[in-house]
Subunit: 219 residues, 2 copies
DNA sequence: TTGACAACTTAGGACTCCTAACTTAGATCA
DNA sequence: TGATCTAAGTTAGGAGTCCTAAGTTGTCAA
């Protein structure tokens, strides 16, 4: 079984894109387990934690909005919200926008748990900390592009990414901060692109594609 | 709410490592949903698919080994395996290594499903395909390093990574393929590093750290 | 031969997630 | 003024995921 086989790796290894996919799969595994464990330690289920985190990050939301953001169906949300209300971590109030909808907001206790839940993925940040700054930037750039592709394919539900937002103006000036956010009227660099801006407003389909192409244009 | 606020992004954005974590979180979400959906289409559960994929990729395994590889407890595996045996996708046979253990091997039908299950994460590969080759390499390098860190922290169960394998010889020569695999006696480049080599044998703790430091050494 | 060990298996419970079938407040329109 | 439509939730039911705790059972060591 052993011997000089320089062709071994080319024959047996998959293309780098498949290797990336596998790596992300493994990272996803760690993420799932951590979320589960950290939720349990906080006396919540994973979904309950995610709901609280979303409410803290984005302000009051309806059940429908939550289901879109978390990528699960309404009944699943409905179930978890019932428990959160029973635990006095969330309150309901009427939503002026829709007749049957109710706006969900965290109570003070819920908000504090939600804030903690938001930091659950940060154990990842520790694992990233050892990368050199330029490696981190390259890594982040890859992630932004991947997420955009996944969203294009309809595999990621909602995302508050700058590159799909109607307020985003890519490459409007030279220098290190070429982009601009029209909402806050501020320049921003590629490093500063947000993935979950609460002010995100989805641009129309054609405008979105346009934004993306401008953003990707090199030079 | 609108106005010239150049400080907006620095004030409201998190550090890049946290942004990376959030991005990976979103990607993980897509991964979970895809796995679920693709498993359903194949008439399997997600876990069953992963078990079949592992058996195809690594050859016959015991329940214990499966539970380590998939990062779930033995009862969970036991449950899924029972269903797979009922479906005639997996067979048991005695394991010569352990008295009470049984080796699980896929039937032909199970093997074909397992081969398909192995390609489930590949939808990610499509999303990566738009990245330039150098971006892909940088991305992959980041992933390898992250996985290594996560494993260091005990957050990823088993991994057949070259950088933790006793057969791995990092940086033994100059040029584009500086590393060497002593098992197949072949040079390999950083791009060719494997994440799930079936021949992986875990090096002892101290040796592992040594390997890693050699691998990380720049220049 | 008695006990420890290791690898399961069983039992039981909480949570996730889905589809399908209601329920209901308001809007639309005849 | 109703009849119908729409959209947001809720309820019911079922498969699957996970866990902990408590057996089972071959083998090996004392």
């Amino acid at each position: 079984m052993t011997g000089t086989r320089p062709e071994f790796f080319d024959e047996n290894s998959e293309p780098i894109s498949a290797r990336i996919a596998m790596g992300l799969h493994k990272i996803g595994l760690a993420m799932k387990q951590q979320a589960w464990q950290q939720a349990n330690e906080a006396g919540l289920s994973a979904t309950q934690g995610q709901i609280l985190a979303a409410l803290v990050a984005n302000g009051p939301l309806s059940g429908k909005e939550l289901s879109e953001r978390l990528g699960v169906t309404l009944p699943t949300i409905s179930d978890s919200v019932r428990v959160l209300v029973e635990k006095a971590l969330v309150t309901r109030s009427a939503d002026p926008r829709h007749p049957r909808a109710s706006l969900l907001a965290p109570t003070p206790k819920g908000a504090s748990l939600g804030a903690r839940a938001r930091s659950w993925p940060e154990f990842m940040a520790d694992a990233v900390a050892d990368l050199a700054p330029d490696e981190q930037r390259a890594f982040f750039a890859g992630i932004v592009k991947m997420i955009r592709m996944l969203q294009e394919q309809g595999l990621i539900p909602i995302n508050g990414m700058c590159v799909t937002c109607k307020h985003f103006r890519p490459r409007v000036r030279p220098g290190p901060s070429p982009h601009h956010c029209a909402f806050v009227d501020a320049p921003l660099s590629s490093d500063q692109l947000r993935l979950d801006c609460p002010e995100h407003e989805l641009a129309a389909e054609t405008a979105r594609r346009e934004l993306w192409e401008q953003f990707m244009r090199r030079g």
